[in-house]
């Protein structure tokens, strides 16, 4: 049971990261802050769990990273979408919408049936 929840969470997290990065390159802290604004739940467990997700997506070739200076002139690692990542972001979004829409419909139907 627990495992499935994590998978679901992970899928959501990936999608959120892609969505955030679609708005431009950002470092881990920036991505986390942005996700917090969007949804407080996705990073509820621990904020650091963003990083394994970033590394995995980097491995998958969805994003790439580069060290650079922040606005405060500190060094941070900036992530940005690759072309593959951009395509994935759209596909994932579409897939997610279709899935959630489907689930919503089913739940509604069940509610009405009950």
């Amino acid at each position: 049971m627990a495992v499935r929840r994590v998978d679901l969470l992970q899928g959501t997290l990936d999608l959120l990261v892609l969505k955030v990065l679609a708005g431009g390159a950002n470092h881990g802290y920036g991505i986390a802050s942005r996700i917090h604004q969007l949804s407080a739940d996705a990073l509820k467990v621990e904020e650091g769990s963003l990083y394994p997700a970033l590394y995995r997506m980097e491995e998958q070739g969805l994003i790439e990273a580069e060290w650079g200076p922040t606005e405060n002139n500190r060094r941070a690692k900036f992530y940005q979408l690759t072309r593959k990542g951009r395509a994935a972001a759209e596909a994932e979004l579409e897939g997610w919408l279709r899935l959630s829409g489907g689930i919503t419909r089913v739940l509604r139907a069940l509610e009405q049936g009950a």
């Binding site: 470092h27 881990g28 802290y29 986390a32 467990v45 621990e46 904020e47 650091g48 769990s49 990083y51 394994p52 590394y55 995995r56 491995e59 500190r74 060094r75 941070a76 690692k77």
Partner: protein
């Protein structure tokens, strides 16, 4: 960061090597994130310290996140293994005492095992160094009357008939050994030669390195003498000169032409053979009428025949020969594989040793399991936390197994060093022809064995603690704060009991072998072996015809007697007890029925000079021994021993007997002059054989052993050799040694056995007392709180100590009883190895138990003392 080019697997592989670079990368990145969070909290008005704490909490466990980071970037399994390995190395470095104990324990076990395996491999597993070597057989004659003697020489007539009639044997070659003095090179050299028939080299299938081998044309009675050199001899005496083929050297003043050189490592049966020469046997003469059995036969089995088929066929042939010839009436034939002949003696003791090291290694492994259990018990809390954080059972087992593998491989490497060292020691102690291998080395095969054994031991010892660790209830362990939960004490106690039992078996075996050695060394054998110096002198036939030989040896004995400090001197065809007799033959006594050749009684023959029995302090029971006045030809009679009288002269006055002994062409009837005491024949373990002694005048020899009794026999070595050289400076005087050291050399194999088993037993004792100590020390630590309370409540310290020691001794007792019972059953089958002691020797068992209890008491006392030193307050504060 990992390189971004190349296929993914390559990147993953590369990532393994950029582990620390990535670690740094993640440290920086996550550090930045936590810093930023902290600043965020500070801006909301928190103190810097609180802000940092809150940030860290929000971010999560950096270490675990980094681990997950590594995981997703590389092949997770490899990464895990490497992480566990690093973890294990760190953990082991942190507890050096534990690590050292485990590594040393395994090193002893694996080292001893590897050393013995190396010998087993060389002797029993590796193919013989001849193509198709497992089809090479030795062929011996057997005698119905002497079933105990395994290897009998063969009559040339039988060899030729077998060769003619056998269909299952592809070819049969004759060979025998000889020792020569070789001249015509830089310095005269004593060489060990094998005389071989022309079938010999083709049969073994080994080509010469240079020139040719012995051929048909060389193997004729009057063919020119040829010599094939062994590689080592060629290197040593000719400096590896390739032009040596065609050169001529002298043996016994006759020319021999060097025709070939054999490749390095070529040997046959004897390790110390220097040269090969042609047998030159006349195959046309009727050997059954002319001579006895004096050749060895080696054969090659036809490719389409089995050993059993060949045995059946050869038995039929032997039966036919027995029916046709009086000479063959009592004889049969025995085929054995060459390997069996080479290793037969050693194989049994080697397998016993192999079993012993197996036991030793199991003890070592039990010990390590025990140590690991103790360690994992103290780490239960860590394991519990790990599993509550989601580490699966597999991950926990993997980490444990990796730790034990690391320990085992380290132990194994050290073990290889130990093996190397003990093999050198073994070669130094073992007599050259005992193991029949030129060298014992740790090569790739042996190294592979050691590594395999290490990995196997690592897996075996790692799995048990890992399984126990997984079975621990996580919740219970956490609640109990990592202490006080019962943790497999039964398993650990059982292990100690097993160790003790195995140790007892090894100690009993070693004890019996040690007592056997003492008995063998102290054996009387019917002679006085003290203060006797012996040496061998062989005479070249060309310069010493029969009558000159007698004169030479009489002169030699006289000049030895004239040396200062000499009490007596004499000569014999070989050393008493350990030397071979002159032969065995039939005899006929006046007044008895004259039986056929095969029905006549047989006696052992030895040749001695006057004064022999006095020199060796062999008692003369009746009549007298040979005296100088008997030195006429023919001599006036024989001397016989008591065994001869008992077997052949019951109810007869020996001194009234007249007999003819079939040793020469003419064998006149002569009286028995005296009866002497019995002397062991062949080895220290043997009984005396019915023996007839010839005076040297009656049966000349071209190689005799001289014996000198003197107050300080050893100091006489140089003057004695010089005295012989003064008579003839061109003679080689060999095997100059005391009688005692000759006997000791003959016992070299047994001593080696006893020493090796003894050292195993001591190692086992050491290991199992360590095991006992480890267990009790751990139990005392576990019981610290309980002991503290008991001390606080006024328990008597002595009683506490006694309860700890008692607990230890109880385990030892159980183990000892099991060990003794198993020993009694096992050692019964080792009866043939024993001498002067039985497998049920109470003294040995009592001694073993006393030693064991002493060591066990010491191993228990140390933890017990610690128990009494427990400070009640500290013990209670531990919670």
């Amino acid at each position: 960061m990992a390189p971004r080019r190349g296929p993914r697997w390559l990147r993953r592989l590369a990532a393994l090597f950029t582990w620390s670079a990535r670690e740094h990368d993640m440290d920086q990145e996550m550090g930045f994130h936590v810093d930023a969070l902290a600043r965020e909290y500070e801006q909301r008005g928190m103190t810097p310290a609180d802000a940092r704490q809150a940030a860290a909490r929000r971010f999560g466990d950096v270490r675990r996140l980094k681990e997950r980071g590594h995981d997703v970037r590389t092949s997770a399994t490899m990464e895990n293994i490497i992480r566990d390995l690093r973890h294990a190395v760190r953990g082991l470095v942190h507890s050096p005492g534990f690590s050292l104990a485990v590594v040393l324990t395994l090193a002893i076990g694996i080292g001893a095992n590897t050393a013995i395996f190396s010998v087993v491999d060389q002797l029993l597993l590796r193919p013989l160094p001849y193509p198709g070597g497992d089809r090479i057989l030795t062929v011996n004659e057997t005698f119905r009357d002497l079933p105990n003697v395994a290897e009998h020489s063969v009559s040339p007539a039988n060899w030729l008939d077998w060769q003619h009639e056998s269909r299952t044997l592809q070819s049969l070659a004759a060979w025998r050994t000889a020792t020569y003095t070789l001249t015509g090179i830089a310095a005269p050299a004593r060489v060990n030669a094998q005389l071989v028939s022309s079938e010999f080299f083709p049969l073994l299938g080994v080509e010469p390195l240079l020139g040719r081998v012995v051929q048909d044309a060389d193997d004729k009675p009057n063919a020119p003498q040829v010599l094939v050199l062994g590689y080592d001899f060629w290197q040593q005496h000719f400096g590896g000169d390739r032009g040596v083929v065609g050169r001529t050297v002298q043996i016994s003043d006759r020319p021999y032409q060097i025709v070939g050189v054999m490749p390095a490592g070529f040997r046959f049966v004897h390790q110390d053979t220097d040269v090969w020469s042609a047998f030159r046997l006349d195959r046309a003469i009727p050997w059954r009428e002319r001579a006895g059995r004096f050749i060895n036969v080696v054969a090659r089995l036809r490719a389409d025949a089995t050993l059993d088929q060949s045995r059946a066929e050869m038995d039929t042939i032997a039966a036919r020969l027995a029916a046709s010839y009086e000479f063959n009436k009592k004889s049969g034939v025995l085929l054995s594989s060459l390997r069996e002949t080479l290793t037969g003696q050693v194989a049994t003791s080697l397998l016993i040793l192999y079993a012993a090291v197996g036991v030793l290694l199991s003890i070592a492994c039990f010990n390590v399991v025990n140590l690991l259990l103790a360690r994992s018990a103290s780490r239960r809390r860590e394991i519990a936390i790990r599993s509550s954080l989601g580490a699966g059972a597999a991950a926990i087992v993997q980490q444990q197994v990796i730790e034990s593998l690391l320990l085992a491989v380290t132990g194994g490497l050290l073990g290889v060093a130990i093996a190397r060292f003990s093999l050198d020691a073994l070669m130094a102690f073992a007599p050259p022809d005992l193991l029949r291998v030129p060298e014992l080395a740790v090569d790739w095969r042996v190294l592979g064995y050691a590594v395999g054994l290490s990995l196997l031991s690592g897996l075996l010892v790692g799995v048990v603690p890992a399984a126990v660790a997984v079975r621990q209830s996580i919740v219970a362990a956490l609640r109990a704060g990592g202490r006080g939960v019962a943790h497999s004490p039964r398993i650990r106690q059982g292990l100690v009991v097993c160790q003790v039992a195995m140790t007892v078996i090894l100690l009993c075996g070693a004890g019996l072998l040690a007592r056997t050695m003492l008995a063998l060394n102290g054996a009387d054998n019917g002679v006085n072996k003290h203060d006797v110096l012996t040496m061998e002198v062989a005479l070249p036939g060309a310069r010493y015809p029969e009558e000159r030989r007698v004169i030479f040896y009489e002169e030699a004995v006289a000049s030895l007697r004239a040396l200062p400090g000499v009490i007596d001197a004499a000569a014999a065809n070989s050393l008493a007890v350990v030397g071979s007799p002159r032969g065995g033959t039939i005899f006929h006594r006046v007044g008895t029925e004259k039986k056929s050749l095969s029905e006549s009684p047989i006696a052992t023959i030895r040749v001695v000079t006057p004064g022999y029995f006095r020199t060796l302090r062999i008692p003369v029971v009746r009549g007298r021994e040979f005296v100088a006045a008997d030195d006429t030809t023919p001599t006036p009679g024989f001397v016989v021993n008591q065994a001869f009288v008992k077997k052949h002269l019951q109810n007869v006055d020996p001194l009234s007997v007249s007999m003819s002994v079939w040793m020469r062409a003419e064998n006149p009837y002569m009286p028995i002059l005296g009866v002497v005491g019995d002397v062991a024949e062949g080895s220290v373990r043997s009984e005396a054989q019915p023996t007839i002694f010839y005076n040297l005048r009656g049966l000349t020899e071209n190689s005799m052993t001289l014996m000198v009794r003197a107050d300080r026999a050893e100091a006489l070595a140089r003057p004695a050799v010089e005295a012989i050289r003064r008579i003839d400076p061109n003679l080689a005087v060999t095997k100059v040694r005391t009688f005692e050291s000759a006997v000791a050399e003959s016992l070299a194999r047994e001593r080696l056995n006893a020493m090796v088993v003894g050292s195993f037993a001591l190692s086992a004792l050491l290991l199992s007392s360590l095991g006992l100590y480890g267990l009790l020390a751990f139990l005392v630590t576990e019981r610290t709180k309980e002991l503290g309370i008991r001390i606080a409540l006024g328990a008597r310290l002595a009683r506490l100590a006694a309860s700890v020691v008692g607990g230890g001794l109880r385990l030892v007792m159980i183990g000892a009883v099991i060990g003794v019972v198993v020993s009694l059953a096992l050692l019964r089958s080792a009866d043939t190895l024993l001498f002067g002691v039985t497998a049920y020797d109470p003294a040995t068992y009592a001694g073993v138990l006393a030693v064991l209890m002493g060591v066990a008491a010491l191993a228990s006392y140390l933890p017990a003392r610690r128990a009494t030193k427990v400070q009640p307050l500290e013990a209670l504060r531990q919670e």
